[in-house]
């Protein structure tokens, strides 16, 4: 193994840094060496800046697809062992092509920026927003219990619907979004591709069903009603165990009817 190169051996004259400098300058970052800044330090700063740029969507300032994949991979690793509930939402602007066609691409860009800003505003600090591509966005919501998933997704949908986006003086646009969501698979180490595919299938259902709506993949677990639990534990535990109540999402209105088919053998 070679030892680290002493800073004095780097001669910036030998490196072609113009493209990197231009990229950073364009992104509003300081791209020139500070007076007296060591070449190694300067190079590190350029690399850090480029790394940051490589994860960002230039139009909206959100994380890009690369950033999303990295975040999904981290979430999968965590969930595989913790069993934590992590929800991925894919959000697609409805009839975006019409906006471009009717008002021009600049207006389209303004709509994308407005939607991105609103998305970033309506999530918790721990959540992650990314532009997945085109007019499609992604939200990653850690610690989002299945009982809350639909409420959160519908709040996002309503927040976008309530936006009035001024693309030209006296021209305000209103857009809607379709949202598809899927939870990270519990207890298995799955792949980001499969997870996105599952959310994408739900997005397709939302579009197909008439747009401006939310479709979530129902969690695999079968809920057990409070009544069933009551009998299940009645003779085992003389003392009530309050923490068991939160284990299963039996309060979820959207799962209660559809998910538990009356079992008839």
């Amino acid at each position: 193994m070679s030892s680290p190169i002493p800073p004095t051996l780097i001669d910036l004259q030998h490196l072609r840094l113009d493209d990197a400098r231009a990229l950073l300058k364009h992104a509003g970052q300081d791209s020139q060496p500070q007076p007296g800044e060591a070449p190694l330090h300067y190079l590190q700063r350029l690399i850090d800046g480029l790394s940051e740029l490589s994860l960002k969507d230039p139009l909206t300032g959100l994380g890009n697809r690369r950033y999303l994949h990295a975040a999904l991979e981290r979430a999968i690793e965590t969930v595989a062992r913790s069993g934590d509930a992590v929800l991925l939402l894919l959000i697609d602007i409805d009839h975006f092509k019409h906006i471009n066609d009717a008002h021009g691409h600049l207006a389209g860009d303004q709509v994308l920026q407005a939607v991105a800003n609103r998305l970033a505003l309506c999530v918790r600090p721990m959540d992650m927003v990314a532009r997945y591509g085109g007019e499609e966005f992604a939200l990653l919501l850690p610690n989002c219990r299945p009982a809350c998933g639909r409420t959160v997704a519908d709040r996002v949908r309503a927040a976008i619907e309530s936006l009035r986006i001024e693309v030209m003086p006296n021209t305000q646009l209103q857009v809607t979004v379709s949202i598809g969501g899927a939870y990270a698979p519990e207890w298995v180490r799955s792949t980001t591709e499969l997870w996105i595919e599952r959310a994408d299938l739900q997005l397709y259902r939302a579009k197909h069903n008439g747009r401006n709506q939310v479709m979530l993949e129902l969690p695999q677990q079968i809920s057990v009603s409070a009544e069933e639990k009551g009998l299940l534990f009645s003779h085992l535990l003389p003392l009530p165990e309050p923490e068991t109540a939160g284990q299963q999402p039996d309060a979820a209105p959207e799962t209660a009817g559809t998910q538990i088919p009356r079992v008839i053998a």
Partner: protein
């Protein structure tokens, strides 16, 4: 990207959600499953296999926990060839069969099985092919399934003639075991589920748990009167420091301390299975 959304390319129906029974279960295949993770499913599989092997049976443990296998950890094996290599065509099935410390055979999933943690028709067919060539060569095949009730777990269970449900007295474990039994009854028309209670705190605790599960099933799960669900209590494994010792040392308890209380319980389980499930040796 315009507004026309194309459906994702590969979305096949696995058959399980349609309520169909995928295939006829193989004889002498026992699925060891649990609902909740971390209740000792893999520990039971490995030590039960050793107990059965000691009693003269030719036993195979198949790591069916494709997403998060850890049988290799429990057995302290570092296999060169795994189920993953068989799935990808890199190795023959015969070469993936390893000899485990307890005198039984084992096929390990391998970490590459991540891609197979979802049940596609290809995974299903390959799994079926593997099972049908393995089963005739053994007296008993134990399927160590994953936790939860994913389609892969349900599929693995559907390949077994018997289900051994491992539960602990904890409410979360009981709830998940109950939910899993409900699904097995509803989707696979199972009538018999064998229950093993791990980490039982006192004598008779397991029997009471099985009885309680049976009562809740009778009350809340509607079945054909001719086809009632029957739980069979297969025993309790008492809380025993030797279990933890063996796991920490990555040794098989049935090899190091077979006479400890938990070891005796596993032997009793093996005998009970012999009496009810495992065909007598010719």
């Amino acid at each position: 990207m315009n507004d026309v959304v194309t459906p994702p390319a590969k979305q096949q129906d696995t058959g399980l959600h349609a309520g169909t029974v995928p295939l006829k279960p193989h004889g002498k295949v026992i699925a060891v499953t649990s609902g909740k993770g971390g209740v000792g499913k893999t520990f039971v599989s490995a030590n039960l296999a050793a107990a059965l092997a000691k009693r003269g049976h030719k036993v195979l443990v198949l790591d069916a926990d494709l997403g998060l296998a850890n049988l290799d950890v429990v057995l302290n094996l570092h296999p060169k060839i795994t189920l993953h290599d068989v799935f990808t065509g890199k190795a023959k099935l015969e070469d993936a069969i390893l000899q485990a410390p307890g005198g039984f055979s084992v096929v390990l999933a391998g970490s590459g099985m991540v891609e197979y943690s979802r049940l596609t028709p290809e995974v299903r067919d390959e799994f079926l092919r593997i099972m049908s060539s393995l089963v005739p060569n053994f007296d008993v095949v134990l399927l160590d399934t994953g936790a939860g009730i994913s389609d892969v777990v349900l599929f693995a269970v559907s390949l077994a003639s018997e289900v051994l449900m491992v539960a602990t007295p904890e409410p979360t474990s009981l709830t998940d075991a109950y939910a899993t039994i409900k699904v097995l009854v509803g989707q696979q028309q199972r009538q018999t589920v064998r229950v093993l209670v791990n980490q039982a705190a006192r004598v008779g605790a397991g029997q009471a748990i099985t009885h309680q599960l049976q009562q809740v099933l009778d009350r809340f799960v509607v079945t054909d009167p001719d086809r009632p669900i029957r739980l069979i209590h297969m025993g309790d494994i008492p809380i025993d420091p030797e279990v933890r010792q063996a796991i920490m040392r990555r040794q098989l308890m049935m090899q190091t301390t077979p006479g400890c209380p938990a070891g005796q319980a596993i032997t009793q389980l093996a005998i009970k299975l012999e009496e009810s499930v495992i065909p007598a040796r010719a």
